[in-house]
């Protein structure tokens, strides 16, 4: 397999994670997919800037973050509805339990969406993607203490919001 084909494969594998990352930033799937599309196109135009042997995922998430900031961040043209609900698979689930779980998940996403953007991006990188604080700090060019305090504020706000809604942590 040639080098670009392997890269395309690796980038394809990243798409679901990129969609999730962009969804946390953008608040709806359609805008998120705009971010991901623009990010993938930008990556393809700038492949010479990625060093083989270094982390492709970090490079890609950094691009997505920059694309969000530079091109896509604006009042959404598609406000309001929680489109992730539509992605649940209905088949074979216990009726009452699934309704409760979906309701809880909706509440969680709504709580994330009201976080300030600089906290949301850290929730996306550290909680969703599992990057270490040090890695997130490098990717966002922030001091590690800032990363940790922003994230801790985010979690406090989320916990408080969810407790008020009757959703445990």
């Amino acid at each position: 397999m040639t080098a670009p084909d392997q890269l395309r494969r690796d980038l394809t594998d990243l798409i679901p994670r990129l969609r999730r990352f962009a969804r946390v930033l953008a608040g709806n799937v359609a805008d998120a997919d705009d971010v991901v599309q623009a990010s993938l196109e930008k990556a393809m135009r700038n492949l010479d800037q990625w060093q083989p042997g270094t982390r492709l995922d970090r490079w890609m998430f950094t691009i997505a973050r920059n694309v969000w900031i530079d091109e896509c961040r604006r009042v959404s043209s598609r406000p309001g509805h929680d489109d992730i609900s539509e992605l649940y698979d209905l088949a074979g689930d216990d009726g009452e339990d699934i309704v409760l779980r979906r309701s809880r998940d909706r509440a969680i996403r709504a709580a994330v969406e009201v976080l300030p953007e600089d906290q949301r991006v850290l929730v996306a990188l550290v909680v969703m993607e599992g990057y270490a604080y040090r890695e997130a700090a490098d990717m966002l060019d922030l001091p590690i203490g800032t990363v940790m305090s922003r994230l801790s504020r985010a979690k406090a706000a989320l916990a408080k919001h969810l407790q008020a809604e009757g959703v445990a942590p």
Binding site: R19, R20, G145, M148, S149
Partner: protein
């Protein structure tokens, strides 16, 4: 003075439960002390909230990938001269353009791009274009045994052009012959706009028995080389507009052009506009 923070302190910080002044103190300490930062990170392991957050977005992770995102990866990194016809067929077939119009030029609203020079280093490109395009390094005008100076100089962001060539591209009308010191005789063949509406020009430089053809597009600061090719110099004075140039260069013009080449007065206006 080094403050010592207990696990309790760190938990309180991580839970956002300290007042602003205390938060600031711990934040500064975390910046300064990598060991403390490590401790703080370990304390957060196994936090329930994390699991809930991940679950809330899990359906998106499991969902099938939309076609348009896969299509975003089907683009230029391995576009070669032989693939251009296929790429054009796919693009025009998908309704991206009006197809071939008069004289073979076409209008399109496509986002297809000729790759930046660096990307050309991959794969099949190297084999099919070994005779023409330069892949980094220095490409000399004139024949190999001659003392021709470098036409394209390897730069950090890709090949750059010598100042005299840039000067010609900035000022010379298409069809006008220009003497370039140490490089040979230059001539701009045609000018056009790419999909970003940047000004691009196809030109050639003849020295001795060989002619180098090239296409460059103007960015804010300088002319960026998009393609380069070489062929034996045309016999006599007759050259059709762009028709005899090296295939890689013809293909590049075809891939870049948005609309038709500029007419003389539009070209003049474009050159005067800077």
């Amino acid at each position: 003075m080094t403050a010592h923070f207990s696990d309790e302190d760190l938990r309180a910080f991580l839970g956002g439960q300290l007042d602003d002044a205390a938060m600031a103190r711990v934040e500064a300490a975390l910046d300064a002390d990598p060991e403390l930062a490590e401790r703080a990170e370990r304390l957060l392991a196994g936090e329930d909230l994390d699991g809930l957050l991940r679950n809330a977005y899990a359906p998106l992770l499991a969902a099938p990938v939309p076609e348009r995102l896969l299509a975003a990866l089907a683009g230029p990194a391995t576009a070669s001269v032989t693939d251009l016809a296929e790429a054009r067929r796919q693009r025009d077939g998908a309704g991206g353009g009006a197809g071939a119009g008069p004289a073979g030029v076409r209008n399109r609203a496509s986002a297809w791009r000729w790759p930046r020079f660096g990307a050309l280093q991959f794969g099949a490109m190297a084999a099919s274009l070994a005779a023409g395009l330069v892949l980094g390094g220095v490409f000399t005008a004139g024949d190999r045994t001659g003392a021709g100076d470098a036409l394209a100089l390897a730069g950090a962001a890709g090949p750059t052009l010598p100042a005299a060539v840039g000067q010609m591209l900035d000022t010379a009308a298409s069809g006008q012959r220009v003497r370039l010191a140490r490089l040979g005789e230059g001539e701009v063949i045609l000018s056009f706009r790419n999909v970003d509406q940047a000004l691009c020009r196809q030109f050639s430089i003849t020295s001795g028995a060989a002619t180098s053809d090239a296409v460059a597009c103007r960015s804010a600061e300088q002319w960026q080389l998009e393609a380069l090719g070489k062929r034996p110099a045309a016999a006599g004075e007759m050259r059709t507009a762009g028709g005899d140039a090296a295939p890689a260069v013809i293909a590049a013009v075809d891939g870049l052009i948005d609309g038709d080449p500029l007419e003389a007065e539009d070209e003049r206006a474009a050159l005067n506009a800077r």
